[in-house]
């Protein structure tokens, strides 16, 4: 990890080259931008990026990842630096812990309950209380991943229906759809969820943890980084549903920020910019942390979450998923 550095959001097509110890980012309509590599924490590409191997090697040497989003906001993949932070003892323990069915279930239930409570917090309505009570009642008897996920599915569906009541008709989800998202609301949620996932992945990579070894999500059916999917759960409502609700109430989004066809929707170029700005501002938002005794940004909250898993691995300190305390 660079000592300092920030996330660069590439919302337009561009070409990335290496120039000495800098990245040279060439955009179609603009003079190129040079960014010292030490200033970069990671890059998120919302649009086409043309990059060569010498740029990739300077990224790798400096511990910088490049996340690639597809047209519909799915995480298409990422370029990751060679595992610089890895550590035998932590990784061994991570493998042991994630192989323990009881612990898997305990952590899986805790993640889903936290995600549920955080959705309730984000929507700030008591319409979700009965569904949350059901989730709380049903989760303890779920010992298998599929059973836990089924409960979360039920709860989420109720959550999205409640969210719809807070949205103008054109932004409503009308049921969650992915790959591709079928309407504007779903496209927005997909992008934001992917950005959360990318932030979590970057945070995990600054620790000795392996992002592909997780507790809740299955690591067999999709080649995804399951620990990153796990830790994204409690944060998704904080960003995705909450920002959708807020953008709608502030009339910040317009139909023209989306490209909608029959049965599929994605963000327009301008929409991608808006989303990047919304997310960046949100990640920079700070809250006072009581034990750290300082303000921490939402971005740092994600980093602290990854550290909790390191503590679980090194010290058996029980993992308590993130909940907003403010």
């Amino acid at each position: 990890m660079p000592a300092v550095g920030r996330t660069y959001w590439l919302t337009e097509p561009c070409r990335i080259r290496r120039e000495d110890d800098s990245l040279r980012i060439e955009r179609p309509d603009n003079t190129p931008v040079r960014i010292p590599i030490t200033d970069v924490r990671d890059l998120i590409a919302f649009d086409h990026v043309d990059i060569n191997t010498s740029a990739l090697s300077i990224l790798s040497r400096n511990g910088v990842s490049l996340h690639v989003l597809d047209h519909y906001g799915n995480h298409a993949g990422h370029f990751a630096p060679t595992d610089a932070m890895s550590s035998g003892p932590v990784l061994r323990r991570q493998v042991e812990l994630t192989a323990d069915p009881d612990l898997r279930a305990t952590i899986g239930r805790a993640l889903i309950l936290a995600a549920g409570e955080n959705l309730r917090w984000s929507l700030d309505t008591d319409h979700l209380d009965p569904a949350l009570a059901t989730l709380r009642a049903k989760l303890p008897s779920c010992d298998e991943r599929d059973a836990i996920m089924a409960q979360e599915g039920n709860y989420r569906r109720t959550g999205w229906a409640v969210l719809d009541t807070q949205l103008p008709p054109w932004l409503r989800l009308n049921g969650r759809t992915r790959r591709p998202p079928t309407n504007a609301g779903n496209a927005f949620i997909s992008y934001l969820n992917t950005l959360v996932y990318a932030r979590v992945l970057t945070a995990i990579r600054s620790t000795p943890l392996h992002p592909a070894i997780g507790f809740l999500h299955a690591d067999t059916d999709r080649r995804r980084n399951t620990l990153a999917l796990d830790l994204a759960e409690p944060f998704k409502p904080l960003f995705a549903e909450r920002l959708l609700k807020r953008a709608a109430s502030q009339k910040h989004l317009k139909p023209s920020d989306f490209e909608t066809e029959v049965g599929r929707a994605s963000l327009s170029k301008n929409g991608r910019k808006k989303v990047a700005v919304l997310m960046r501002e949100e990640l920079d938002t700070t809250v006072y942390h009581r034990t750290l005794k300082r303000k921490v940004s939402y971005e740092e909250l994600i980093h602290l979450e990854a550290l909790k898993i390191v503590r679980l691995c090194l010290e058996d300190k029980p993992y308590k998923p993130f909940r907003p305390w403010w």
Binding site: P2, N62, S206, P208, L292, L304, V310
Partner: protein, 176 residues
């Protein structure tokens, strides 16, 4: 900066070399030493540490003697003198302990050691660290203590919160 940490050396094993950084952490906080040797190393995120490294890199560029871990060594007629540079503004016992550790390592390699100096460029001061029987005993005790901390099966407790100020492990230890 930006160098990958060395591969894991197998915490607690007797042949794992103890470097200056282990001694520094031992004196700062045994818990930090334990975490460091068991695989969690947040240093690269910390601006403070990066600043220290830059000072190390630029202050003695002309003295390229041999490298023993982090220490710089001068060869003078009466033996070897170890130089250690600190970006800190206040001399601390831990700094001298680190230099004594280098003296011990060097002596084990058969080098006649004369002593050491800690440099504080920010306050333009130096502190001499003598090398004698007493210093050698201290260095050996520190080394044994460091090994026992590393070999412990569980993490040493946290320091009182106020003593953690500026520690790069703070987010890890207190971020719950």
């Amino acid at each position: 900066m930006n160098q990958p940490p060395s591969p894991d050396e197998g915490p607690g094993s007797d042949d794992a070399p103890l470097g200056g950084v282990h001694l520094k952490y031992l004196h700062h906080c045994p818990r930090q030493l334990w975490l460091y040797t068991h695989g969690y190393r947040p240093e690269q995120r910390s601006d403070l540490v990066a600043f220290g490294e830059v000072i190390d890199e630029t202050t003695f560029t002309r003295r390229r003697d041999i490298d023993l871990g982090e220490a710089k060594i001068d060869w003078v007629t009466a033996g070897a003198v170890i130089h250690e540079t600190k970006s800190s503004r206040a001399p601390a016992p831990a700094h001298a302990a680190q230099v004594r550790h280098y003296c011990l390592l060097l002596e084990r390699r058969g080098v006649a050691v004369r002593g050491g100096v800690v440099h504080y460029p920010l306050i333009r001061r130096t502190v001499d660290v003598p090398w004698n029987d007493e210093a050698r005993d201290q260095a050996r005790q520190d080394e044994a203590l460091a090994r026992s901390v590393i070999a412990a099966p569980t993490t040493p407790p946290r320091l009182p919160r106020r003593e953690c100020r500026g520690c790069s492990y703070l987010d890890y230890c207190w971020g719950d």
